[in-house]
Amino acid sequence: MTIAEDPATTNPGYKWVGTRPIRPDGFEKVTGRAKFGADLYLPGMLHGAVLRSPHAHAKILSIDTSEAEAMAGVKSVITGDDFPPAMGKEKDMASNTIARDKVLYEGHVVAAVAATSRAQARAALDAIKVTYEVLPHVLTVDQAMAAGAPVLHDGMLTKGSEPAATEPSNVASRVIYQGGDLDKGFAEADVVVEHEFTTKPVHQGYIEPHAAVADTTPDGRSTVWCSSQGHFAMRTYSAQVLGWDSGRIRVIPAEIGGGFGGKTVIYLEPLAIKLSQKAGRPVKIVMSRDEVFRATGPTSGSRMTAKIGATKDGKITAADVHLWFEAGAYAGSPVGAAAMCCLAPYKVENFTIEGFDVVVNKPRVAAYRAPGAPISGFAVESVMDEIAKSIGMDPIEFRLANVVEEGDTATYGPKFPRIGYKETLEAIKNHPNYQEPLGPNQGRGIAVGFWFNAGMNSSATVNVNEDGTVNVLTGSPDIGGSRASMALMAAEELGVDVARISPNVADTATVGFNDVTGGSRTTLATGGAVVNACRMIIEDLRGRAAKQWDVAADQVEWVDGQAQMVDGSQPPLSLADIAKGWARTGGPIAASASLNARGVGAGFSTQMCDLEVDPETGVVTIVRYTTAQDAGRAIHPSYVEGQFQGGVAQGIGWALNEEYVHNADGVMENAGFLDYRMPVASDLPMIDTVIVEVPNPGHPYGVRGVGEVGIVPPLAAVANAVDSATGKRICHLPLSPIRILDALLEG
């Protein structure tokens, strides 16, 4: 089933869509009532704690848990031996959840305990004796690919290499996208710019650490409460790691305190389920911030080269991009998406984009907002900026000269449908901020970004209550206000006041399957399921009114929340009227819809950063920031703006200060919020937003995902602004005061 088509796509005359009501879950959140992952307490609940590897790479020779098991108050202890062998599709996830024969990064889980107090659980961890044989480790793509490097996974042959790989290595896979003739393209260029770039791993930085509570019954069924971006995914993955049927696990979603991609995978859930099963009591495990940094997230560090040629009048003739991404301990960096996105905003005939997925002894990377695209975008947008500068062209005009539009073929294959990219460029060009004069030591940077956005699978159930109020159930965790969007779309469809709609995030036992809240898909796909279910309800309501009036259903239309005769011959019946009499017309009114969403609308963003560099210290102050992004249609504009602003803030942090710092032993040195420097309020200015609305023809209201693409341009926008302020092209992140001053002192 696809999302219903609607000519109203081009008609913005909506009553509820586009308004800004207070979000339905807001009251719980401002009064401290909202229950996040760590906020659930069950009678008899035990505290779980996790023992983690102190080594970046080691063989586990033995684990002796006997002393810990004998301690007072310790109710269960588990190791990898308590789980089936890691194999099959989720083999890597299984061995990342708890190590078996080898640990692959500092922080890798080795064992876990459940005890009657936190202190006792912690003491029990100290009593577990693990013998390791420490192995040499690799921390960067260059170390991992060096001749003679220790190989993390014995059987790993590079997928997609030419010729086919015959020897195991740390390169998990190679992807390539090509078009035209590179040599010809570069020969046609008047100017060619080439640089090498590096970036460090960065963490999603959600404020809520991972937490899970599991209550497993002796018959091997478990109820799990956890905060995640997708409780169905938590169920599926946990079942796979445990070797259980999915139906044995019910996952009840807690409120989620931020995820940004990092809570789409499991860490604690199978451990809590198993500890609870062995102890016969509920078990809660909550990560410390230290554990969050050492063992979850981050996204990839990288090395990249980008070589791009253009003519004097600003036509790009060739682009040659190569990407090496750290995957962490298991294959699966976002290098593929990075390769697909980086040239997508440009019409370029001759190109090669090659990417390598490389394993290293660091935590396994997880999705982070537009995974991969900010990294490759940093390289490409930096080079584009330099080309525009070298041919004396305004950076926005340069992008307009190469802009992709409807019907153009993207470098990653498909033809673009109607997109609003050009409109975002024009929005920045016409923004008063673009005319603001710059002061001494100030610079201005422009960059653009692309992200596909996702569709995937969603389900929704709409239940009409006996008084005509409406409950909307979805299985998509609300991470940034999506319940408000669901309510607005249901109100628009049914023609009732949004205050009469109660949107809920239901658990895995009470609503149909939903993929994770990720890929900027929820308003589009889950919203589409809500719209479809509402339309089924309306069909039903029309039939019930027709029955009451004893006419054919086609004589009844649904207008402004009421059934009315086409010829006006009966007084209209409201939703409440029909609900009141449902016993006479067929019983309660409910509908469920499921879909695999098609018609995803791509996201584009153009951003402008003004900043000032202290020439004596290299400290950067962001002076002004402006972002224009195509939202298709903003269902709740406040939360659309919030997504734009949040993405920009994360991107600025990534550009300026955030990075994983590992010492030579592979131990993370800055696993806390003091030294992993995310932006604080005083680091940022207001972030000016322009919501561009070029409706997505594939969605009934024209929605495009808005959550992700906003983080793609800032890395380069900041670097380009630093170049504008100082004349220094810095190709390595973060742009810390140290790095900037080093560049300034070079002369």
């Binding site: 401002v30 760590a38 959600y206 650490p209 305190g257 991470i479 604080v680 207001m686």
Partner: protein, 164 residues
């Protein structure tokens, strides 16, 4: 055999007591023993502000306080900001201004903002940003939070409700 300490204090206006291990944080005691889970542990080291409370009139990271220190103290948590079903203007302005996304940092921001406005009824943007620099938010980019605090300050000044 118990080594626990009995602590009595005023929390959100009510005399409250609890038992705690001496080395436990006040944050954990509030959450585990008193049942007030509005304050959150984001870091446990005083670097994120999610555990903010008002202790004896001062904005305080409750993760840095040993629970026995609360003896005879007066504590306000996010649960104590509203007056019955009447939200504090800050709470109302955060809602109306969409100043929260995931909401996990929100209790800390509200508590810190209350202390700011109690002390400075008319802060400018920079003062707000520095006063809230101890509270990390990863969702909003702070823009709508700063605006909501400014709006609440206007309402509080107009209503003459700013406490001395």
């Amino acid at each position: 055999m118990s080594t626990k300490t009995h602590v009595t204090c005023i929390i959100n206006g009510d005399e409250t007591d609890f038992l705690t291990e001496d080395g436990e944080s006040l944050l954990n005691a509030l959450r585990d023993e008193v049942g007030l889970t509005g304050a959150k542990e984001g870091c446990g080291t005083g670097d994120c502000g999610a555990c903010s409370i008002i202790m004896n009139g001062d904005l305080t990271a409750s993760c840095l306080v040993f629970a026995p220190e609360a003896q005879c103290s007066t504590i306000v948590t996010v649960e104590g900001l509203a007056d019955g079903d009447h939200l504090h203007p800050l709470q109302q302005c955060f809602l109306e201004g969409a100043a929260l996304q995931c909401g996990v940092c929100t209790p800390g921001f509200l508590v810190a903002s209350k202390v700011l406005l109690d002390r400075n009824p008319n802060p400018d943007d920079t003062e707000i940003r520095y006063a809230l620099a101890g509270n990390l938010c990863r969702c909003t980019g702070y823009d709508k939070i700063v605006r909501a605090v400014k709006e609440a300050a206007v309402q509080l000044r107009e209503n003459g409700k700013v406490q001395a």
